[in-house]
């Protein structure tokens, strides 16, 4: 289990190669990479173009919150390794924001755990996004779809 909250970019290939390296029980690695896109989406419609996205977080709480989400994934699925890297600061369209990667003996567990982790990261980790758009600075609001995706995994 590993959590990194950082300003710097990350190397997806190197991170995936290192995940569970040498662990012969690993039969599947899945990953999710979130990127900054250049369109502000609200209620399903593309509205304004986005020139930059700035992520703010709550140092000290962020790491703990992500570790709790990661621990929940490990309690639900047989994972051999997991990694979450989440960036903060000013990012531009095309930049990577987040990497979620998990290693498991089985692909179903790997797919499901990865999906669960990104869904819960969206609504349970203290990050906030503000976009520089063609209509000025806009805080990204919570999306109902993200709340529903979070609830899907509730027990």
């Amino acid at each position: 289990m590993s959590v990194r909250v950082q300003r710097e970019d990350f190397d997806v290939g190197a991170e995936l190669a290192a995940l569970g390296a040498g662990n012969r029980r690993v039969g599947a690695i899945t990953s999710f990479v979130g990127l900054v896109r250049d369109l502000h989406v609200r209620e399903g419609y593309h509205r304004e173009s986005v020139s930059a996205l700035t992520l703010e977080h709550y140092p000290g709480m962020t790491e703990t919150a992500i570790e709790e989400i990661e621990a929940e994934a490990n309690a639900r699925w047989p994972l051999e390794a997991s990694l979450i890297i989440h960036r903060y600061g000013r990012l531009e369209p095309g930049d990577r924001i987040v990497l979620v990667a998990v290693a498991s003996p089985h692909r179903e567990a790997a797919f499901e755990a990865c999906h669960f982790l990104i869904d819960w990261l969206k609504t349970k980790a203290p990050f906030w996004k503000v976009e520089d758009t063609s209509k000025g600075e806009q805080w990204v609001g919570a999306h109902e779809a993200d709340d529903l995706a979070t609830k899907k995994w509730e027990r």
């Binding site: 709480m61 990261l121 609504t123 980790a125 203290p126 990050f127 906030w128 993200d146």
Partner: protein
């Protein structure tokens, strides 16, 4: 006690954190919101949309009913939008 503000709450209040000493009858997060709102127009404006923000006590998510006694840090923020 230290109070922290994030995202647009920080912008509306005009500071990222402050040290406050609320009176003894301020017992819960809800009480603290009401008391802070009485301290300045900027606080009142920031907290006017009570349905759209949450709180944490000592870096743990709290509800408006959570007691604040013994807390060293209370944070207010909009819903999380990570990922």
């Amino acid at each position: 006690m230290k109070v922290k503000y994030f995202a647009w709450l920080r912008q509306k209040v005009g500071k990222s954190e402050e040290d406050v000493t609320p009176p003894a009858n301020v017992a819960t997060v809800q009480d603290l919101v009401a008391w802070l709102s009485s301290q300045s127009a900027r606080h009142a404006d920031a907290f006017s949309e009570a349905k759209v923000f949450g709180a944490a006590i000592d870096k743990k998510v709290a509800t408006f009913a959570t007691p604040i006694s013994g807390a060293s840090e209370v944070a207010f923020f909009p819903p999380f939008t990570g990922g």
